[in-house]
């Protein structure tokens, strides 16, 4: 279930050709990157968490959290460089909002980390993580 939802997010993101800048989202087991690869805009989709509670006697409710991480190493650290990336992940959030994925019904989105200021300052590395939550009944 959780991987099918993550795959559906990847497929939906990659199917839209209107993104600026262009990217290819990839589903990963965990969001990780080598610094040498971070010069290219990277979008990683990773299952994060699943919460299960009884819905009624014969059915359970699954809330599935999927992380969407946007990563890029920047040549400069200023508003002119960072703002487009913030706008980019905001566009991803807007794109995914209220869209059901596989068997999951979209519930909410949380921009968990807009960016890590320390990482940005020390390593010129922009990392932003969006958590999308989907609900499944089984």
């Amino acid at each position: 279930m959780i991987t099918a939802i993550a795959d559906a997010i990847v497929t939906a993101l990659n199917a839209d050709e209107s993104w600026t800048p262009e990217f290819t989202a990839v589903r990963v087991l965990a969001p990780e990157i080598a610094m040498k690869d971070a010069a290219t805009l990277t979008v990683l989709v990773a299952p994060q968490r699943r919460t299960i509670v009884p819905a009624h006697r014969t059915m359970d409710q699954y809330d599935v959290d999927i992380d969407v991480a946007v990563i890029q190493r920047l040549s400069a650290i200023d508003n002119a460089t960072v703002d487009p990336l913030i706008a980019f992940i905001e566009a991803i959030e807007t794109f995914l909002r209220r869209k059901d994925m596989s068997t999951g019904k979209w519930i909410s989105a949380e921009h968990r980390v807009i960016y890590d200021p320390a990482r940005l300052r020390q390593d010129s590395l922009f990392i932003s993580v969006l958590t999308e939550t989907y609900r499944v009944f089984e």
Binding site: A30, P31, E32, I33, A34, M35, K36, A38, L44, Q48, D67, A69, I71, R112, V113, D116, A118, R119, Q122, D123, L125, I127, S128, V129
Partner: protein, 104 residues
């Protein structure tokens, strides 16, 4: 393998002997994203840097590689120290750097 490199800070520069190595940093930030970074390390006897003191972030090392001068900046990711002593007697320093490109 030992080689001679130029270590510099601002207008000051020193010609020093160094052994080149590498180090793999791994850190997970507040977003839960794990970042790997390999640094090029220079092992330099502390006595050779006496006039400059301990290495500092932003210092530069110029090394000739394949006949071309390459610039490396003293750096360590995620706020890690940019150098550490590689022996208990604190005679040799392992200095982390990142490649900045061809020296101009």
């Amino acid at each position: 393998m030992n080689r001679t490199v130029t270590y510099r800070r601002g207008a000051e520069s020193l010609s020093v002997n160094a052994t080149v190595g590498r180090f793999l940093f791994k850190s997970t930030d507040s977003a839960g994203v794990t970042v790997y970074e390999e640094t090029r390390d220079y092992l330099i006897r502390a006595v050779e840097l006496t006039t400059l003191g301990e290495p500092a972030r932003g210092d530069e090392i110029v090394e000739t590689v394949g006949g071309i001068e390459q610039l490396f900046r003293v750096h360590a990711p995620d706020g890690e120290p940019v150098f550490r002593y590689s022996d208990t007697e604190r005679l040799v320093m392992r200095i982390h750097t990142q490649h900045m490109g061809v020296e101009t």
